[in-house]
């Protein structure tokens, strides 16, 4: 299966929209998606498999009497199958109930330029190239420390394309690439097993560093050995990239969604203009971030992606919207309608949630802590209370900091608190910004976090 050309993808979407209008829809929208992913996987210390996955489909939303219907299909061989999908979407809309807040699909608006989101070199990579990158990562890991075992990992390269059309004349096509290498490790020594340590590097352009990932995954696991318990007390905590991403994803990134705010599910409801974080905290949702993992010209509804200020120097400035929630408040969408390919209707998600970094090096940040923890990752963040922001998680892997230096690895320590208190207690920011999923952030130093040891 050759990849769809821009004209082909757009004409599929336009055909579906026209067909829906002809068959009685008041409004219609079609979203075509194509993904081609090649991976090489590492399992238990060796490269064991390789895969190639091609997924392609069309999702159609139709509106009949203010009721929404949706149908998708992944067999795009002929017009008849698209027309059949259109009929299903219409049937769904007719069976559904009118929504008085429905105010139409988005109107056309020029898209902004995006930079460094597509690299032909990634499309041209062969499985042999990926095997080579995976071998470099694996060898770097093995060379770094003999006590470390690479549990799993791999290298994956993807080509992704999306096209949209709606009955207001919105038309768009965008394509992008992503390449990623990752390695999970454990270290073993005299009967002790460390928790899983993980490192990865994902980029839109072909400039990953598998060697660094291998070395770093090994270094983390080796230094997680000889873990000891800590006392129960409130202390300073440095949240490294993954830990911060996990905690924010299930709390703050929920609380800023207009849908949660409008439905009384957000602790940030009614707090626009109020201080919700330490004044060194500034966060943007930047759908146009140069080379951002979630950077696209347009969102899942064909609205241009943009940069939206969420928190500026500690003051809450805005929420993120899709077209529906924005129109409900007489506002414009912020371009945050997210789609999981062709399979779903859009929902609100952050794009590149950019926690603006500071000036201190990570070493300087550690140097500022007289007694505290350095937390690389947390376990159980998904059990946080999304409405209140309360969390209760295990810090793993984590290290104790004493007098500005890493003292030892920590075992079984829990962190409990409320993310909105954490944001108010941010003392300092490092300069080591990274992209992790939707989050782009540095390490942050937070005071007064409840640590439950034993």
């Amino acid at each position: 299966m050759a990849v769809l050309k821009e004209e082909e993808a757009i004409s599929l979407a336009e055909f579906a929209v026209k067909s829906a209008l002809k068959k009685g829809a008041d409004e219609a929208e079609a979203f075509a998606y194509e993904g081609l992913t090649t991976t090489v996987a590492i399992e238990r210390g060796q490269i064991t498999k390789s895969s190639r996955i091609i997924d392609r489909g069309l999702g159609i939303r139709t509106i009949v009497n203010k009721a929404v219907g949706f149908s998708y299909n992944n067999i795009l061989t002929d017009k008849a199958s698209i027309e059949e999908t259109v009929l299903k979407a219409l049937k769904s809309a007719k069976a559904s109930k009118p929504d008085k807040n429905w105010q139409g699909f988005p109107a056309t608006k020029p898209f902004h330029q995006v930079k460094n989101t597509f690299d032909e070199a990634i499309c041209e990579l062969s499985p042999e190239d990926l095997v080579k990158a995976a071998s470099i990562m694996l060898e770097a890991c093995e060379k770094t420390d003999k006590r470390v075992f690479p549990v799993e990992g791999g290298v994956g390269a993807s080509y992704l394309a999306r096209a949209i059309a709606n009955s207001n004349g919105v038309i768009g096509f965008d394509r992008g690439t992503v390449i990623e290498c990752s390695l999970a490790t454990i270290a073993q020594e005299s009967g002790e097993v460390t928790p899983i340590c993980f490192e990865f590097n994902a980029e839109r352009l072909y400039k990953i560093n598998p060697e660094w990932v291998g070395v770093e995954a090994a270094r983390q696991a080796a230094s997680a050995l000889r873990a000891r318990r800590v006392e129960t007390k409130n202390m300073q905590v440095i949240l490294a990239h993954f830990a911060l991403q996990q905690l924010l994803y299930y709390t703050l990134m929920e609380a800023v969604k207009a849908d949660c705010v409008q439905r009384n599910q957000s602790a940030l409801q009614g707090k626009l203009g109020e201080k919700v974080a330490s004044e060194i905290v500034t966060i943007h949702d930047n759908g146009l971030l140069d080379g951002g993992l979630r950077t696209w010209k347009f969102d899942g509804e064909g609205v241009p992606q943009q940069k939206t200020t969420i928190i500026e120097r500690g003051i809450l400035q805005g929420y993120i919207y899709d077209n529906y929630t924005a129109k409900k408040e007489g506002k414009e969408s912020t371009g945050n309608a997210f789609r999981a390919g062709y399979l779903s209707t859009p929902r609100i998600e952050a794009t590149n949630f950019h926690f603006v970094s500071g000036k201190k090096s990570p070493e300087e940040l550690i140097g500022e802590v007289s007694e505290g923890l350095l937390v690389y990752s947390v376990q159980g963040a998904h059990s946080s209370n999304p409405a209140s922001g309360e969390f209760s998680v295990v810090a793993t892997p984590a290290w104790k900091i004493e007098k500005g230096k890493i003292a030892h690895a920590v075992k079984g320590a829990m962190l409990a608190g409320n993310i909105f208190e954490v944001l108010k207690n941010v003392l300092a920011l490092a300069n080591n910004e990274r992209k992790i999923g939707q989050l782009v952030a540095p390490w942050i130093l937070v005071e007064d976090v409840k640590v439950i040891g034993r």
């Binding site: 299966m1 498999k49 489909g57 109930k97 059990s383 295990v394 208190e421």
Partner: protein, 461 residues
Amino acid sequence: MKDTLDKIIEVAVQKFGAEYAEARAQKLFKTMLTVKEEKVEAVREGIENGVAIRVLVNGAWGFASVCSFDASVLSDATSHACKMAKTASLKLKNPIKLAESKAVEDRVLVKPKKNPTEIPIENKIKTTLTIAKNVLEYDNRVKSCTVDYLDLVGTNYFMNSEGAYIEQDKLYVWSRISATAKEKDVYTFSREEVGSTAGYEVFDIETPEVVGERAAKRAVDQLKAKPPKGGTFPVVLGPNVVGVFVHEAFGHLAEADLTLSGSVLMDKLGKKVASEVVTVYDDGTIEGAFGSFKYDDEGVPAQKTLLIKDGIVVGLMHNKETAKKFNAQPTGNARAEDFRTEPIIRMRNTFMAPRDYSLEELIEDIKFGYYFKSFRGGQANLDGTFQVGIQEGYEIVKGEVGEPVRNASISGNTLETLRKVDAVGKDFELWPGRCGKGQTAFVCDGGPHIRVLEVLVGGGA
């Protein structure tokens, strides 16, 4: 379909010399809808058709997935899969070998009392709206309610180079109900799930009234709850929490791929890891349960697998690859979410077997501790560190259930905690859920009430 798959296997084996080849074709039809408060967000229906091809060549795996049944597309995909495997084998130190399993030919039909494909969409809308109505009308402090509904029906066609050919119907009905309540500055959140492989009749037992009230009552009750004290306490865990504990904290470690990856169970087979009142099964054969099926995605029949017997680890969950390594039999735990993914070792219905205590007897000796009744998420690590978040919990004071606590979680080391289980109840419940391991699998977890002498409780702020 049989001829199509036959061709794939033939090309892989004859032309590319595959040691093993399997082809899985799927025709799936999904209906989904979401209700927010009393508003239907979107009714969604979709078709997902495709084929997964997995081959073992020179001891390495190759995998290809395409959304097409077209002969030329499949022929390309087969050759891709075989070439990918050869490339992957370039640096192989230990070639992969597979345990053989009996080649089965079967046609598996589902026999629902109420087939979701025959239920008009209007009825599904009515059911979900009624759930939402029951949640919202329970109390005026309930502020929001989201009800998600999914039904999936279809057929899997499986063939491998050992001569198996299985046509197996699939049927899942699932719903998730989330409610939030608010009073002053206190926000609470509560979630319930319904899931079945039997049919739409699951809503005759888990009626909109029953599940709606269960979700709403918890959200409201938690409003007056206080944060727990952090520290080590005796606890009584309800079936719902026991389920997620045996699944997350123990079950994942007993998935043989993770055992081999260095989980703390690696050298524990045949050894005592838990107190002798602990017996744990992973069972794929419970009729209608959310984690049940007849054949896994390597064509191996599902079975009832004993993992811990009276405190001793007696079994692991295997696919064909790990079974060969352990010189064991495949247990029917190889599951793939769909044709886009490879089968990996997954749990089915995982539970602790009941014994003889009543809930009162479990609680009466505890001076101060906690009763944790319902969970919100859980996660384990290979070193045996687990965390289980609690959405419904109470203090136990002087042998009686006391005031509610909110946003608690428990943590510890799995094996240490299993040794501290000192009493197991006589009741039994099985709860549906979804498990993530790169792919999503539908499962059940459960057990009776149990008492644990000591566990680390993470308190609120």
